[in-house]
C-alpha cells in the first residue's frame, strides 16, 4: 500500500456522506437476507478482497455476511444467474468499463441494489444506487490502497449499522424498496424488465424478469424481442425498449 495521507484527507465530506448512506443501505439489505455479489473485471483481486472482507468475521462477535466474488469473463451473464431480488451488487471499476455499465443498468430488473466504486470520470448520474468515487485521475489509484480504504470503511460502517437495530427496519434510503402504495395508472408506472423468453407466437406474451419476479408481458407494442432485451413495462404491456449501453431508447 503506497497510501501516505491520513484517511480523513482521502475521504472528503461528500464521499463520507455517500459512504454512510451506502453502508446503511447495505446493512438493511443484509438484514433482510441479501447476498452481496462483487465484480471487478478490470481488477479482479479487488472483487476477491471485497468478498472476503464481508464474509470473514475478522472482529470477534461480528457476523459473517454472505458475499461472493463473480470473476467470470462475462460478469453480466454470471450476475444474472446469481442475483435474486433483494441482493446487492458491488462493482469496483472505472466508469468506462462497458461490462459494468451494462451490469448496472440491468440490475434493477433483477431487483438488485447497486454500489459502484471507482475513480476518474464519474459514471452518469443515477447509474448506480450508490456511487463511491475517488476524485483523481491518477491511473495508479487502484493500486494505491484508496479502494481498499473505501471498502474497509464500507464493511466497518455496515457493522456499525448492525449495532443500531432500529435503523435496519426503516424504509430503504433510496426509496427503491418503498412499500407505500402506488397506483399503476396514476403514477405513470414504468418498470424495468429483462426478457427471459421470447413469445412462442405472435399473440402470446414474453416471459419477462422484473424486480418482483417473472411475469408474462405483452410485447405487441415493441415488436420482436429476444432474451436479454430490456423493456419498460406498464400494466402488463411493454411500452418501449432500452437497447444499448448508453440507455438510449429505440
Amino acid at each position: 500500500m503506497t497510501m501516505t495521507q491520513e484517511p480523513a484527507a482521502l475521504i472528503g465530506k461528500d464521499l463520507s456522506d455517500d459512504l454512510a448512506a451506502a453502508s446503511l443501505a447495505l446493512a438493511r439489505k443484509f438484514h433482510a437476507g441479501a447476498t452481496l455479489w462483487v465484480v471487478s473485471p478490470q481488477w479482479e483481486p479487488h472483487a476477491h478482497h471485497v468478498a472476503v472482507e464481508f464474509v470473514h468475521p475478522v472482529i470477534m462477535g461480528k457476523r459473517a455476511l454472505p458475499s461472493v466474488a463473480l470473476v467470470d469473463p462475462d460478469p453480466v451473464a454470471q450476475a444474472r444467474v446469481a442475483t435474486r431480488p433483494g441482493d446487492v451488487i458491488i462493482a469496483v471499476a472505472s466508469a468506462a468499463d462497458p461490462r459494468v455499465v451494462d451490469l448496472m443498468r440491468r440490475a434493477p430488473a433483477w431487483g438488485a441494489q447497486t454500489i459502484w466504486i471507482g475513480f476518474g470520470a464519474r459514471p452518469a448520474a443515477g447509474s448506480a444506487d450508490h456511487v463511491l468515487w475517488v476524485e483523481s485521475d491518477d491511473p495508479m489509484v487502484p493500486a494505491t490502497g484508496r479502494f481498499v480504504l473505501m471498502y474497509h470503511l464500507l464493511w466497518e460502517l455496515t457493522h456499525v449499522c448492525f449495532e443500531h437495530p432500529g435503523l435496519l427496519t426503516m424504509a430503504d434510503d433510496g426509496g427503491r424498496d418503498c412499500t407505500d402504495e402506488v397506483c399503476v395508472t396514476c403514477s405513470d408506472e414504468g418498470r424495468l424488465g429483462e426478457v427471459v423468453m421470447a413469445p412462442e407466437s405472435e399473440v402470446s406474451p414474453a416471459l419477462v424478469r422484473t424486480a418482483t419476479g417473472e411475469e408474462a408481458v405483452d410485447v405487441t407494442l415493441v415488436g420482436p424481442v429476444e432474451p436479454g432485451d430490456l423493456l419498460l413495462v406498464h400494466a402488463g404491456a411493454a411500452l418501449t425498449r432500452l437497447d444499448d449501453v448508453t440507455g438510449a431508447a429505440s
Binding site: 461528500d14 464521499l15 456522506d17 455517500d18 454512510a20 448512506a21 464519474r122 448520474a125 443515477g126 447509474s127 448506480a128 444506487d129 450508490h130 456511487v131 468515487w133 434510503d173 433510496g174 426509496g175 418503498c178 407505500d180 402504495e181 402506488v182 397506483c183 399503476v184 395508472t185 396514476c186 403514477s187 405513470d188 408506472e189 414504468g190 399473440v203 406474451p205 405483452d218 405487441t220 407494442l221 415493441v222 415488436g223 419498460l232 406498464h234 400494466a235 402488463g236 404491456a237 411500452l239 418501449t240 432500452l242 448508453t246 440507455g247 438510449a248 431508447a249 429505440s250
Partner: protein, 377 residues
C-alpha cells in the same frame, strides 16, 4: 442538506441544487408537473424543501383517477351491480367515491368486483368465465391506453362475446392547454410527463412554447431527474430560450411509440368532449372505443344511466388540480377529507396531491422555514 443524502447519487444532486440556486437567484418561478409519478417523487423525497425559496412546484392534473367525475364512477357502480357481470379495474379505482359510495362498497353489497394489474388479466377472466360478462373499467392517460388497445385487439382475435370495456382513458395535451388558458394561474413552465411521452413522444407539446411562450421539459422519475428538469427549465429561461426539451432521453423518443399510436388509432377515437373533475368539460380530451370495436364497448352494450353528478360543494379539488390553492388550503383537508374517508378524488389515490401531502406530512414552506426544516445549500 438533509434530503439530498437520501438520493441516488447524492453528489450529483448536491451539484444540481447548487446550480439551480445560482440560476434562480432572487427571482420567483412557478413550475407545474402534470404526472402523478412526479408528484409522488417530489413529496416522497421532499424536493420542494431543497429547492431555493423562489421556486414553487405546482401539482397539476396528473392523476387520471383524480379527474374521473362522480357520474362516471356511478355508471361504473351501476355496471358492477348488473346480474352476471364480473367488473374489473385497477386497484386505483376501487376507492374512488361516487354519489353512492365506491366500487369497494358495491363489492361489499355483493357485486363481483375484482381488481386486476392489466386489462389482459380481465380478458383472461372472460375466457375462464364464459357464462359471465366481464367489464373492464379503463382509466389512465396515454401510458395505459395502449394496454387497453392491445386487449381490444386480442378480444376481437379470440371472438369473445362476453367481454367489454368501459372506456375512460384521457389525454394529456387538452388539460395542459386548458390550464394555460386559465386566467387565475401564472406558470413559468412545465415538467412534462415521462411515460406518457414514451407513447406520444415530445412533438405534441410544441404548442406550449410556440403558442403560450412557456418552456416544457419531459422529465424522468428519479429525484435526480426532477432536479435536472428544474435546472433545464431555469437554464432555458436564463438563456432566453423557450422550447420543448427531453430530460428523459434514456427512455423517451421524439416520435414516441409509433406502433402504440397506430393501435390506439385503430381501436379508439377522441370524444367531442369529456368532463374532468374540477376542470369541467374539456374538448377532445378523452378516448372512446371505435365503431369497429363496438361489440366490446360497454357504453354500447349496456344502457347506462349516464347521470351527471355535481362535485361535493366542500371539495376544492378543482382549485388544487389547477394549482390555484395548495392541498392544505382546502377547507376540508385533513378534517372531513382524509385518505380513509376521502371526499375529493385528490385524496383517494396516493398520487393525488392531497393524499400525497397527507401521507408524507409535508408542510407549508413558510412553516418549514419557521422551524428550520428547509435545507440550506
Amino acid at each position: 442538506m438533509k434530503f439530498v443524502d437520501e438520493f441516488r447519487d447524492p453528489a450529483a444532486a448536491r451539484g444540481l441544487v447548487r446550480s439551480i440556486t445560482r440560476l434562480a437567484g432572487d427571482d420567483v418561478f412557478k413550475f407545474m408537473e402534470v404526472c402523478g409519478g412526479h408528484t409522488h417523487t417530489i413529496y416522497r423525497h421532499g424536493i420542494e424543501h431543497i429547492l431555493p425559496p423562489g421556486i414553487e412546484l405546482v401539482h397539476g392534473p396528473g392523476c387520471p383517477v383524480c379527474v374521473i367525475p362522480m357520474g362516471r364512477v356511478d355508471d361504473a357502480m351501476w355496471l358492477a351491480e348488473q346480474p352476471g357481470v364480473i367488473f374489473t379495474t385497477f386497484g386505483d379505482m376501487m376507492r374512488v367515491p361516487g354519489s353512492r359510495g365506491s366500487l369497494l362498497d358495491a363489492k361489499a353489497r355483493g357485486a363481483d368486483t375484482r381488481f386486476v394489474y392489466s386489462p389482459l388479466d380481465a380478458l383472461k377472466i372472460a375466457v375462464d368465465n364464459p357464462d359471465s360478462h366481464v367489464v373492464f373499467f379503463a382509466v389512465g392517460f396515454e401510458t395505459t391506453a395502449p394496454s387497453t388497445a392491445v386487449t381490444l385487439v386480442r378480444a376481437k382475435q379470440l371472438g369473445l362475446r362476453n367481454f367489454s370495456v368501459f372506456c375512460n382513458h384521457v389525454t394529456i395535451v387538452p388539460p395542459i392547454r386548458a390550464i394555460l388558458e386559465s386566467p387565475d394561474l401564472r406558470l413559468s413552465g412545465f415538467l412534462g410527463p415521462g411515460h406518457v411521452s414514451t407513447v406520444v413522444g415530445t412533438r405534441p407539446y410544441r404548442f406550449v412554447p410556440e403558442v403560450y411562450g412557456k418552456p416544457l421539459v419531459v422529465a424522468g422519475f428519479e429525484p435526480l431527474d426532477i432536479l435536472a428538469t428544474v435546472h433545464m427549465l431555469l437554464q432555458q429561461i436564463r438563456d432566453g430560450r423557450c422550447e420543448v426539451e427531453n430530460q428523459y432521453g434514456r427512455v423517451v423518443r421524439e416520435e414516441g411509440n409509433v406502433a402504440a399510436l397506430r393501435l390506439l388509432a385503430e381501436t379508439m377515437t377522441l370524444r367531442p368532449h369529456f368532463e374532468w373533475r374540477g376542470l369541467g368539460f374539456i374538448s377532445q380530451s378523452a378516448l372512446k372505443i371505435n365503431d369497429g370495436y363496438a361489440d366490446f364497448d360497454a357504453e354500447v352494450r349496456f344502457s347506462m344511466p349516464g347521470i351527471r353528478v355535481a362535485d361535493p360543494k366542500a371539495c376544492q379539488c378543482g382549485e388544487v388540480l389547477k394549482g390555484v390553492i395548495k392541498p392544505w388550503e382546502c377547507k376540508v383537508f385533513g378534517t372531513a377529507c382524509t385518505p380513509e374517508t376521502p371526499i375529493g378524488t385528490c385524496m383517494v389515490s396516493p398520487e393525488g396531491a392531497c393524499a400525497a401531502y397527507y401521507n408524507f406530512g409535508r408542510m407549508h414552506r413558510e412553516a418549514a422555514d419557521m422551524i428550520g426544516a428547509t435545507a440550506s445549500v
